[in-house]
Subunit: 261 residues, 4 copies
């Protein structure tokens, strides 16, 4: 069965900014979904901020294997209960690909537990993305490095936890470096952050970037059944302990009672 | 200069439950602070939920090197703005020691980005804490293992990110295991989670547990100046790029303008 | 195409010890290969110490996706050049599953860079293997824990580097714990260590253990082409630098010359 | 008590190459030791390849807290038994700082378990070292980045295991990037790799580089007693198990007998 990907887009600059509209007539989410659908093993659809529940109903998330996230200007408009719902699905096993300015999205900051801050400059400079981990599935089919001819600079320090793997590091004309491809694991969910993708340049039309997107979705898809109890603190009563056990001493809780939370 | 530690306690069971009061007449936070103050290199004071701003004003946190956190029944009563304030200080470099049922505290879940769930059983069973990383400063002065004679069982899976280091793993009478001592790094702040500490047993009077508390505070103290800009996305204008750079192409932002957030 | 697995066995106790022979009439490697071949996506064959080049010729390794390794009594008889050859293939992308007493094999110690020591006891006690990372592919199809009725105890500290992921932790009757399933990455190669498997008990006939073996082989298989240059220090001459560059200052090496090694 | 550092140098180019001799009249090891001795908390001495046992007798290593390692041309002349001796001391808790071309030293490759290969170019280009982890002790006192005016380029992929922490990443004139400061842990020993230090440029006279060297030595010093049993597989006989245990079933080993190795 194909991997079911949902491409989430803020869809604001895409409609309101002439430059962005010129590059992405069907929205950035449209271009990203096209890139994914170039792979027969992926079935990508889109969801956007202005839709009911931002297009991310519980039912839809339950049938999503990997979610990609692009937002920039309206992070604050994403409703907290939807963010919590997405986080819960990631913990259960849904993959999450966070793109570019999504570093400051509520969902990424919630999953990282850090500010996710970085340095930035919008000068249209050149970025060279180096493959650090050539054996990694996300680097499949790439050369040792590839160039994004015009980019927004994102510079270190990028305030995220130490990643599981550093897949890419970028070099910039202006003298900075950035860990542009990082993997994380939260619960059963795999997370990939990928920094190229500023909206006023045609980055999601780039061949290598599109390859990375497809690779990342395939890497992040976890075929295991959803870990539905990932957020629950299960009580194991004394009589159900794996080894025979006799209750001893004082107690706060009656047997089988739910814990405090 | 001594390490300035603040021992935060929920201080509810400590006042309302006769068993807990019997064991900890001056509160669990009192016992923990005593354990820390046994070390001349640590100066520990206490703060509790019912105090103004939970005893954690901005000024006090600014002059705190390491915060320890014990809560159980009233996680939901800790105000979100105080949680955000503590998180910001951790990112800036304040150490954080999270104890026992603090696994479900708002601050720990916020910093981990995961549910922090686990299995549990309150049977007064025996726990044997094994040292996994004997060269680690937090294990200093301990034997290969030590016993907590009566404990609440905390069992795997413990839903936290892969730790920086696994310092302790516990064995239980009833057949479970638990990663009882784990380190994490968030921004410039070091975090240690330590699971023994159920309130109806005299665990914070135990010699080995007290040694771990002292070791952990000393490990978590970061002598570097506070990283005051850890949450800020600094713009680097084209004319201030490390390498000479000419602005090219379209732009969303005027030069030097703050980014979206 | 099926994953090509080679099951390497020392094949000494299997032939010389009556107990082992009784449990594994076709050798432990035979039983492990059978377990793998129960999965139609795996094609497992065997290789043993006494064969020419220990059954691990360069050609055979070049067409091996995943190697499993069981040795105990004769680690020292494995020739160093074969160990180097296996390591090179792991770095290039071959998966490696190290089993039980293989913790002290030359190949595992070489890839870990640590002594790989542990505590041990051969008392036929019970081991309960807990799943720490239920979303991990290696835990697929398992319950929260499973029991190995009779086992050799392996106890912490297990002197390996911090793993990429802790998949399993074992509880023992006798009071110890052990990180019984750990993943590592070296170059493009994925490594999984799994501790159950003492030769005088029928552990490789156990349903859950066999499931873990199959899961591990599938997880460790890297479909990327071999990283053939993984051990080479490639010179990038000035005239081939990605950015235009002018040679400056003194030099040890003539242009294009090989580096010291 | 001051940290006892030993600065190991190959001392070949230092004597035979006029350029190197001009920059480092008392050898590179001399310059590095001077940098360390600028800190009153460090007492640095030197050892070199041509000395008996390469200056690294068992006694001397036993009283060394941190060893720094610079070699380039004669890695193969370092005797294997000395390499094994150094590794054992690292596992026991001695810190190790590996410098520049030391990436290909026997000791670093042994401790990493990977080829430690990289790309290189000797063009005298500029390197800008970025601080990725500003709260890390090794970055203490540094600005956001510092420049090495003339350097040998070291480029990714650097074939080492995922580090514990990425402290520095370097940007080069010629378009490459490199993880120039990485930490690792092996047993009780902390390891720091730092790439600047090519011998034909005066890099160890640079103020920032010298600060990094001092910071690294202080970070790597482990005050814990040596972990003298780190390489031993200790048998725990049935009668000494932490929990009462009855021997069951068949056995390979007589009670208390040493394991195979």
């Amino acid at each position: 069965m194909a991997i079911r990907a949902v491409v989430w887009g803020e869809n604001i600059h895409d409609r309101e900014n002439a430059v962005v509209q010129g590059i992405y007539p069907r929205g950035m989410h449209g271009a990203i979904a096209d890139a994914l659908n170039d792979d027969p093993d992926i079935e990508a659809t889109t969801a956007t901020l202005e839709q009911t529940e931002h297009g991310l109903t519980a039912d839809r998330l339950a049938s999503t294997d990997v979610l990609t996230w692009w937002g920039h200007r309206a992070h604050g408009q994403v409703r907290d209960e939807i963010v919590d719902r997405v986080a819960e699905r990631v913990w259960q096993g849904m993959g999450l690909i966070v793109l570019h300015s999504g570093h400051f999205s509520k969902i990424f900051r919630k999953l990282m537990g850090t500010p996710c801050a970085l340095k930035w400059r919008e000068a249209g400079e050149k970025e060279r993305v180096w493959v650090i981990n050539p054996g990694h599935p996300i680097a499949r089919g790439l050369d040792a490095s590839f160039v994004v001819p015009q980019t927004e600079m994102y510079g270190e320090p990028f305030v995220v936890p130490e990643p599981m793997e550093t897949v890419f590091i970028s070099w910039y004309d202006g003298g900075e470096v950035f860990r542009s491809g990082l993997t994380f694991q939260r619960g059963a969910g795999r997370i990939f952050y990928f920094s190229p993708g500023h909206e006023v340049y045609p980055i999601y039309h780039d061949k290598n970037v599109r390859q990375v997107l497809r690779n990342a979705v395939k890497w992040a898809a976890n075929p295991a059944p959803a870990w539905s109890t990932v957020s629950q603190a299960q009580n194991v009563p004394t009589e159900k302990a794996p080894e025979p056990l006799v209750q001893r001493g004082p107690s706060l809780h009656a047997s089988g009672e739910a814990g405090f939370r």
